[in-house]
């Protein structure tokens, strides 16, 4: 049980680290949204599920299950909200492609 929870926590941490590199490096707001929206949701959910398994599903850890449900619904909502805001304010996608940063 302990090994399973440790492996799940490390998979979540790898998701989060790769997503953060994508947020720092990608050239555009839409590309950064793709990196952020996937990695934050899955990373946080995997780490919380790892802690749930590690403590053995006690009733006193029900806040962790509540937070798993909360992040499962609100992570995509946040990414969609920022993407809709960028689209409605007419932010152009970057056409240059392989530059690390704008400007």
């Amino acid at each position: 049980m302990n090994i399973v929870s440790t492996v799940i926590i490390y998979i979540g941490l790898i998701f989060m680290l790769i997503g953060s590199v994508g947020i720092a490096r990608l050239p555009d707001i839409y590309a950064r949204l793709q990196a952020s929206g996937v990695s934050d949701t899955v990373g946080v959910i995997l780490v919380l599920v790892g802690f749930l398994i590690r403590n053995g599903f006690k009733f006193s850890d029900s806040f962790l299950g509540l937070m798993v449900l909360f992040f499962f619904f609100t992570g995509p909502i946040v990414a969609h909200s920022i993407a809709k805001s960028a689209f409605l304010s007419k932010v152009e996608p970057s056409q240059t492609g392989d530059k690390g940063e704008d400007e």
Partner: protein, 83 residues
């Protein structure tokens, strides 16, 4: 050992997203960086609550997640056509 490695990896990714929060070219980039920084801080609070012996931090993490979600959605709706 597990706690040190979790704190190190989450701290490294926190630095990478704080870069986007401080130097983002537009307001939406800063909003994206803010949403990512709050997810990392929620992880740090849960680690402190689970492995540091102070379980009140788990409740604080839930309240912090709810407040950051409301703030991001409301700010994103507010700056919709003004960037």
């Amino acid at each position: 050992m597990l706690r040190i490695s979790i704190d190190a990896v989450v701290g490294l990714s926190l630095l990478l997203t704080l870069f986007r929060l401080f130097y983002g070219p537009s307001v939406l980039d800063r909003l994206l960086g803010y949403s990512s920084v709050t997810a990392k801080i929620v992880i740090l609070l849960v680690v402190e609550g689970m492995m540091g012996g102070r379980t009140v931090f788990v409740n604080l993490a839930l309240i912090y997640a709810v407040l950051s979600f409301l703030g991001i959605v409301i700010i994103g709706r507010y700056i919709e056509r003004e960037v």
